[in-house]
Structures are given as structure tokens and as C-alpha cells.
């Protein structure tokens, strides 16, 4: 059978073997494998739905196995909201082909043409009364032993019975009944506990530490110091934590270079050296377009600056891993989003062969991008190396996570836009300044994306940072406006100085870029004397974009409230990456002018993610993203002094509480037969702008700097009232 590799859909292209995707087991179950991982987004469930649908088996028979370097396809990292697009597409074709192979086998056995056979829950029936055989009888435990051809068409959407229905998440029961479900809960025979000791400045180095006293503490097995890397292993978790505290007291750190003034962060960014690029028709260019003056016939020209601070991923469960060395091989249980890239990064640090390292994914707390998951894996491997044979579980403490996870990058955006005589946008200039968004471990053997690699003797330097040169990558993400404007110019300025390690946080550049674009659209609508929703629609030819805006607008009862001082609603829209899910958010907000407290009383989110395999999963992602973005927008900012990070826990880095959370309504616009579109990051940007626009409607004050803390809001309102 001649496969045509370049035509294979999704992740089948690089992983064509059917056995990497589907296993028909002797116990009448189906194993579905995905090289992607569950990060609370419902991946396991959606994968099971797709495979069950194409195979014609019931969902209860399906067991899902996610990324394991020894067992599944190498699907790189689970990120960028692309799991459904690449992994589910691959599974869909693989499952359809496996079904066809088994039906063919049955047809040969019965001596009847394939089209006379039918399948129900894994049982194949022919026209004769005794022509009946199951998948498990045909294949149970055997391998398909061949590559996908991609030539068996999946079902048409009209025939779907499982896909597109609301099913319960497969991983929830375990979590709701308290069964061990996370890597944090893993226990292995002989397992011991490790903790890491790190300062509160990311460039501080270890001057000295007297470990003798700590090593004598009962239950301490070993203190591991390797260059600037310091950790401890103990018989119990409690002892490991106490020993960590003692080491913290004993360690002397050499201060790193002073951090910027947090209150002048944006001036600092605008004054730093940059590497510049541009964007033409949405595509990256190495040349930075010069800023042209507005067109001569422009009626109104507005220019505004918008800014976001450094933001934490802030997983509820600090990062954790369990490592074990045996006979020169390393096994790691990890909640990394990319077990294959992690393995490559570890081979570079330990100068080992890939075959000698196995990384097995287990669920972790939600990570929302690149957090400490990979770093703690190396930490655990380093501690476990000192105790060959024994599994070592390492969990970061809360302040480790707050100070050492890679932060979401600070950004500044400047937008200048002009209205023409027709009341439409005639010119659009967009400049974005940003730190790095994509620092996941990459393949270069001379450097490392893993934190401890730079700390150990004979380690590897950090990865070189540079501007994102892919379209829609990093700071480029959603820098290109999704609207039909006659003249658009987008310039990107990568700020080379990095006071903190930064990497992918849900939405990357889109959060700040959409925040800026969608506020400017509101500012322009007001200047043009037009309704903000209508103004957006007038610049959007794509009917699917229009549909989400109209749905959110109608659901919030747009324009139907009597104007009340201190109350208003706001709307915002974006198509994530200009290519993934469409999303519009509308909110009602109340602003207390004396305290500066903003309360979002109601929020509506309308999304279109193409064909909705798991509509409730899509709703969950959209609404979770909305609430998280609400938290970023109202409250979050990494705090620091020149000498250290001061956001070390939830009191010094507050996030949204249940007291502050609105009820969210989510509308999923299903598009059967359309491509799956990534949805996990779609609501981040629109939410921030919708809140800002609602605050403007309520108070007449524009909030262009994130977060909208009460002190800031109060000061802005006072200033506006004073100058009015």
C-alpha cells in the first residue's frame, strides 16, 4: 500500500503508524493514544469521542492514554490550542482506517462484500444470521502493523452519534471522588521526598552554604549542591520541607543585577534596546515598517498606549515530578506539556541517549502555558541522581512557583488610528513592545530551556532569546487586526533585556494586542458617534465573525438598559491567531467611584470553534478563559523591588476569588463539517477589552494600563473628574 506521507492529515503526517493511535484489546476495550496531554481542557474525552465515533464502539469501552515517550506518537507540545486540530484529526482518520481494516477482515472471512457489513459497538454483522464477529475476536491484543494511508474518509457530520454530544469528562470522576489522579498523588515503592532551595531573584547566585547541620537532621538523606543548584532529599515530605527551610537560612546568595522600577516598567521597556520586525498582511517581515503620517483626508486621528505587566501562570498545584534512576536510565513522571521535547532537553543536560530516558505524562494542575512543569522535572532528576534506584518526588513550594515559573511577558502597545469621512477606519498603525513569549525547551544541544541547567557545574546556558519570527507567534499573535481596514501597518519591537525568565502564557501576545485593538475600536466608535457593536460589524465581512458578535450582543441585552451612572456594558471580539476560534465577550460592569472597585456582574461569551466535538468542553474552555482573564485584568501583576520578587504567594499576588466571580453564560455556535478550531485561548483578549469598554461606558474613563486595581481606577476617575 503506497502511503502518501505529505497528504496525511494532522499528526499522522509525522506519526503514521496506526498502532501509535489505536489499540484493539483482548478484553473488549479500545485503547486510544494521543501524544497530547490532558491539562484540564478535556483532551482525553474529546479524543475518546472522536475514536469511538469512527470505530462505532460505545464510549465506555474506550481507554485513553496520553503522552509517554515509550508508547505514544511524538506530538511535541500540547499548546497553542492545537490539540483538537492536529491530534483529533489524526485520530479521526486513524480510527476510520482501523474500522475499515477490520471490516475488510470480516468481509474476507464471511466471503461477502464490505458494503453488506454493519458495525455496532465493535460487533461486525453480515447478511447471514451466523455472520457475526467482534473487533476483539479479530484483533484482540494484536497490532495493525501498518501505516495509515489517510484514504478512508471519516463519517459525514450528519452521521455522528457521539461527537457533538454533551458527554461527561472521563477524567472527572477520579478527581471528584478523591482518587489519586495527579502526578502529585503518585507514590512508588521506596519513594522519598525532595525540595529545592532558590533565592527570590532569578539572577542571584549561590555564594556559600553550610550544609553540615542540615545533613545531620534526622530523616535527611542528602543535601545536593551542584554549582548554584541546591536541594535536599529526605525520608518524609515534612522533613524535606523543614530541611529546605533550614537551607534557606544557611544559604548566602550573591545579588543579581537590580530589577527595573516596577512603577515605571513601561517607560523602561520603551527606552530599552529592541530588535524590530514587522508584519505585512498578517505575515512576519524582518523589516520594520516606518510610521507614515495619517492620510491627509483623515477626519479624526486617535493615538493611545496600552500596557500589561508580567503575569503568572499561577497553577493551583505547585509543579511536581517523580524521578528515578536505575542502571544509567532515567524514568520521569511529569505533568510537562511536552514529554518528547522534555526528553530531548534532558538528554542534552545529562549527555545521554534518548533511549535511556522515559518521560511519562500524568495529570497536573492546570498550567495555562509553559510553567514550572519541565523545570521541576530536571530538579527531580538532579536530586534522584544522587540516590540511584530510589524514586524521588519533588514538589515546588508556593514561593518557588511564584518566583521561578516563567512569567507571561510584559508588553506595551501603541495604536494610532484614523477615521475617514465615511465614519470608517481609514488608517491603522500598530506598534508592540514585548519580552519573550516562547521559551519552552527546544532542541539546541548547546543551551537549555530547563531552569537548573544554567545553575549546575558543566551545565548549559539559557536558551538564546529573540523576536518571534513566525506569523502569529509570540508578540505577533493577534497584532494584525482582524478587521478590513484599507491601510494597516504593524511594527514589532522585541525588548532584548529580560529582568525575568518569560515564556508562553495562555494567549501569548494576543491578550495585550486584542486588549489594545478592541479598546481602540471602541474609542473610534465613540469618536464616530456609532454604536460599538455596529461599528465592529461594519468592518467585518466574515459572517462567522459577525455571528459571534451578534450572539454576545443580543445575549447581554445590548442597549436595552437605561443609562445608569456607574454601570455600563462593553463588548469585544477577536478571532484567535486570526485563524482559530472566533470569540466575542460582552460584560456588564459596575464601578464604585469612591473605592475604585469594578464588579463584573454578568458576562456572556459567544464562540465558534468549528465543528464542536465536545460542546460542553468548548464552553468550559471559553468560560474558564473568560474568568481567568477577568482575574488578570482586574488584579494581576508580578510585584518586585530592585532586589527581589515580592509576589511570593496569593496574598502578594492576589487572583480572582469566588466573591468577585460573575455568572458566565456561554454560547457555542456549532459548525458541523467545519474544521476544528482551537478554542482554549480565545476569550483572554476579548474579556480584557470588554471590561475596559464597560468601565468607559460606566464612568467615561479609559483604562489602558493593566491591571484595573481599585487604587488605579480610583486615581484615574479622580483625575478625570478634576480635569473635567
Amino acid at each position: 500500500m503506497a502511503a502518501e506521507p505529505k497528504k496525511l492529515p494532522g499528526s499522522l503526517r509525522n506519526n503514521p503508524s496506526l498502532d501509535l493511535w489505536i489499540g484493539i484489546e483482548a478484553d473488549a476495550t479500545v485503547t486510544v493514544r494521543s501524544g497530547k496531554v490532558e491539562i484540564g481542557q478535556g483532551l482525553k474525552t474529546a479524543a475518546a469521542q472522536v475514536a469511538a465515533e469512527e470505530l462505532d464502539v460505545s464510549l465506555v469501552r474506550v481507554r485513553v492514554k496520553t503522552a509517554d515517550t515509550a508508547e505514544t506518537a511524538d506530538e511535541n507540545v500540547t499548546s497553542g490550542s492545537r490539540s483538537m486540530e492536529v491530534s483529533a484529526t489524526a485520530l479521526r482518520y486513524a480510527a476510520a482506517e482501523c474500522r475499515a481494516i477490520m471490516v475488510r477482515m470480516a468481509a474476507d472471512r464471511f466471503g461477502v462484500p464490505v458494503d453488506q457489513l454493519s458495525v455496532e459497538d465493535g460487533t461486525i454483522r453480515g447478511p447471514g444470521s451466523n455472520q457475526r464477529i467482534t473487533y476483539w475476536e479479530l484483533m484482540g491484543g494484536k497490532k495493525f502493523g501498518r501505516d495509515a494511508t489517510g484514504t478512508v474518509p471519516p463519517k459525514v457530520p450528519q452521521a455522528h452519534r457521539i461527537v457533538g454530544t454533551r458527554v461527561e469528562r472521563l477524567d472527572l470522576p477520579g478527581k471528584v471522588f478523591g482518587q489519586p489522579a495527579f502526578v502529585h498523588d503518585l507514590t512508588l515503592p521506596g519513594m522519598v521526598h525532595g525540595r529545592i532551595v532558590r533565592p527570590r531573584h532569578q539572577s542571584a547566585t549561590l555564594e556559600s552554604v553550610d550544609t553540615a547541620a542540615v545533613e545531620k537532621l534526622p530523616g535527611v538523606i542528602k543535601v545536593v549542591r551542584d554549582g548554584d543548584f541546591l536541594g535536599v532529599v529526605a525520608e518524609t515530605e515534612v522533613t524535606a520541607i523543614a530541611a529546605r527551610d533550614a537551607l534557606h537560612r544557611a544559604a548566602r546568595w550573591r545579588a543579581g543585577p537590580p530589577l527595573p522600577d516596577e512603577d515605571r516598567l513601561y517607560e523602561w521597556m520603551l527606552g530599552e534596546a529592541t530588535m524590530d520586525g514587522g508584519c505585512i498582511d498578517g505575515v512576519h517581515t524582518d523589516d520594520c515598517p516606518p510610521e507614515e503620517p495619517p492620510p491627509k483626508d483623515a477626519q479624526t486621528t486617535l493615538e493611545s498606549l496600552y500596557a500589561r505587566p508580567y503575569i503568572l501562570h499561577g497553577a493551583m498545584g505547585p509543579s511536581c515530578a517523580v524521578a528515578q534512576w536505575a542502571g544509567g536510565t532515567l524514568t520521569l513522571h511529569t505533568h510537562s506539556q511536552g514529554v518528547f521535547p522534555l526528553r530531548r532537553a534532558l538528554t542534552n543536560v545529562f549527555r545521554m541517549d534518548e533511549a535511556d530516558i522515559r518521560c511519562i505524562h500524568m495529570d497536573g494542575a492546570g498550567c495555562y502555558g509553559h510553567n514550572g512543569a519541565d523545570d521541576v522535572a530536571l530538579d527531580a532528576a538532579l536530586l534522584a541522581r544522587a540516590l540511584p534506584g530510589r524514586p524521588v518526588r519533588v514538589q515546588w513550594m508556593r514561593d518557588d512557583e511564584h518566583c521561578w515559573e516563567p512569567f507571561g511577558a510584559a508588553m506595551v502597545v501603541k495604536v494610532r488610528a484614523s477615521l475617514g469621512a465615511d465614519g470608517r477606519v481609514a488608517d491603522w498603525r500598530f506598534d508592540v513592545w514585548s519580552n519573550h513569549h516562547g521559551n519552552r525547551p527546544k532542541g539546541n544541544p548547546k543551551e537549555s530551556g530547563l531552569l537548573a541547567a544554567r545553575m549546575i557545574e558543566n551545565g548549559l546556558p539559557p536558551q538564546t532569546l529573540g523576536p518571534a519570527t513566525g506569523s502569529e507567534a509570540g508578540e505577533h499573535r493577534n497584532a494584525w487586526p482582524g478587521y478590513a481596514f484599507p491601510r494597516i501597518s504593524v511594527a514589532k519591537h522585541f525588548v532584548t533585556a529580560h529582568p525575568f525568565r518569560c515564556s508562553s502564557l495562555r494567549g501569548l501576545g494576543a491578550y495585550a494586542n486584542v486588549f489594545a485593538i478592541e479598546q481602540m475600536m471602541d474609542e473610534l466608535a465613540v469618536a464616530a458617534g456609532q454604536d460599538p457593536a455596529t461599528f465592529r460589524l461594519a468592518h467585518l465581512p466574515d459572517p462567522r465573525a459577525r455571528a459571534v458578535i451578534e450572539a454576545a450582543r443580543d445575549a447581554i441585552a445590548w442597549g436595552q438598559h437605561a443609562a445608569t451612572p456607574g454601570r455600563g456594558h462593553g463588548i469585544a471580539y477577536a478571532r484567535y491567531k486570526n485563524a482559530a476560534a472566533y470569540c466575542a465577550v460582552a460584560v456588564d460592569a459596575e464601578v464604585d467611584e469612591t473605592t475604585g472597585v469594578i464588579r463584573v456582574t454578568r458576562a456572556v461569551c459567544a464562540g465558534d470553534a468549528g465543528e464542536a466535538i465536545a460542546p460542553d468542553g468548548i464552553a468550559n474552555q471559553l468560560e474558564g478563559g473568560l474568568i481567568q482573564s477577568l482575574s488578570w485584568t482586574l488584579k494581576e501583576r508580578v510585584r518586585f523591588t530592585p532586589g527581589e520578587i515580592t509576589s511570593v504567594d496569593w496574598e502578594t499576588y492576589p487572583i480572582l476569588t469566588f466573591r468577585e466571580a460573575p455568572e458566565v453564560e456561554t454560547l457555542v455556535l456549532d459548525r458541523p463539517g467545519e474544521k476544528f478550531l482551537g478554542v482554549g485561548e480565545a476569550s483572554q483578549g476579548p474579556t480584557a477589552a470588554a471590561i475596559a469598554n464597560a468601565v468607559f461606558a460606566a464612568t467615561g474613563v479609559r483604562l489602558r494600563e493593566l491591571p484595573f486595581t481599585p487604587e488605579r481606577v480610583r486615581a484615574m476617575i479622580l483625575e478625570a473628574r478634576r480635569s473635567a
Binding site: 484540564g40 495527579f182 498523588d185 495529570d363 468550559n620
Partner: protein
């Protein structure tokens, strides 16, 4: 100095040897083998470690084993089973009120304590009852629905 403590957890007696100021969290997880209370912050700021002690919500990350000894401790494992779920658990599944699920155990514990005292809470009462529980995935709106659903089920 280690001592031996008698703990009543989910209706069963356990005898554990630990230093008296050991946080209950680690005893529950590592000595008794219960996975539901989770470490999130260690300082009463997040609620992932919540358990019920003599009918009240407690933070097992700071409650010492000495202070917990002799009291009736209930963890999520003690509420119900997949075959016989507590109405709070059934409601969280029905509303799919979790994403990663790391916070979920603590939230369900808080919800159970709330419903024991106020069988018909409105959303604001739920907000107050859950104010010490953080959720980073943004399941808040679903959690409101799940708690109301559990209240309705308990009223039947």
C-alpha cells in the same frame, strides 16, 4: 520528638506516629494514603487542602496533627463513592464543574459544610462560603450551578 496520635478519619480510627506540629495534610496524604487534600500554598490562602473537622471546614496545611487528634475528620473520600456519590459530588459531575480538578476537592468540602448549615443558599451565600477557595481554571460559574444543584438534590 515524635508522638503517637489517634486520628478518626472518615469514620475509621488510625494511629500515626509524627511530631505534634506536623500539618495534618501530610499525615492524611502520606501516612493514611488519602489523595484528596492537596498542597497548594501551605498558608491558608487557597483551600486546596480543605477537610472537615468536627463539622467545620479546616485548612489541613496548618492544622497540626496534635490539634486534630481525637476529632472527627472527614475528607472528600469520606463523602461518597462512584457507586454512591454524595449529592455534592453528583452535582459537580452533572455540571462538569471542574477543569484540572486540583482545587475541586477543597471546593466540594467547602460546599458540603455550607449546605450542612444553609440548605438553600443563594449565589451570594455560595460566594461567601467559597471565598477562601481559589480556582485558577475559572470554574466559578459552574461551581455556583453545581452547589445550587446539590442543594436542590438534598432538599428532595
Amino acid at each position: 520528638m515524635s508522638d503517637t496520635f489517634r486520628l478518626s478519619v472518615n469514620g475509621r480510627e488510625h494511629s500515626v506516629t509524627a511530631e505534634g506540629d506536623t500539618p495534618l495534610l501530610y499525615v492524611l496524604r502520606n501516612d493514611i494514603g488519602l489523595a484528596s487534600p492537596k498542597y497548594g500554598c501551605g498558608t491558608e490562602q487557597c483551600g486546596t487542602c480543605n477537610v472537615i473537622v468536627d463539622g467545620d471546614k479546616a485548612f489541613s496545611c496548618t492544622l497540626t496533627v496534635r490539634d486534630a487528634a481525637g476529632k472527627a475528620i472527614v475528607t472528600l473520600e469520606g463523602l461518597g463513592t462512584p457507586e454512591n456519590p454524595h449529592p455534592v459530588q453528583a452535582a459537580f459531575i452533572a455540571e462538569q464543574a471542574a477543569q484540572c480538578g486540583y482545587c475541586t476537592s477543597g471546593i466540594m468540602i467547602s460546599a458540603k459544610v455550607l449546605l450542612d448549615r444553609n440548605p438553600d443558599p443563594d449565589t451570594d451565600a455560595i460566594r461567601v462560603a467559597l471565598q477562601d477557595n481559589l480556582c485558577r481554571c475559572g470554574t466559578h460559574s459552574r461551581v455556583f450551578r453545581a452547589v445550587r444543584r446539590a442543594a436542590r438534590a438534598l432538599a428532595r
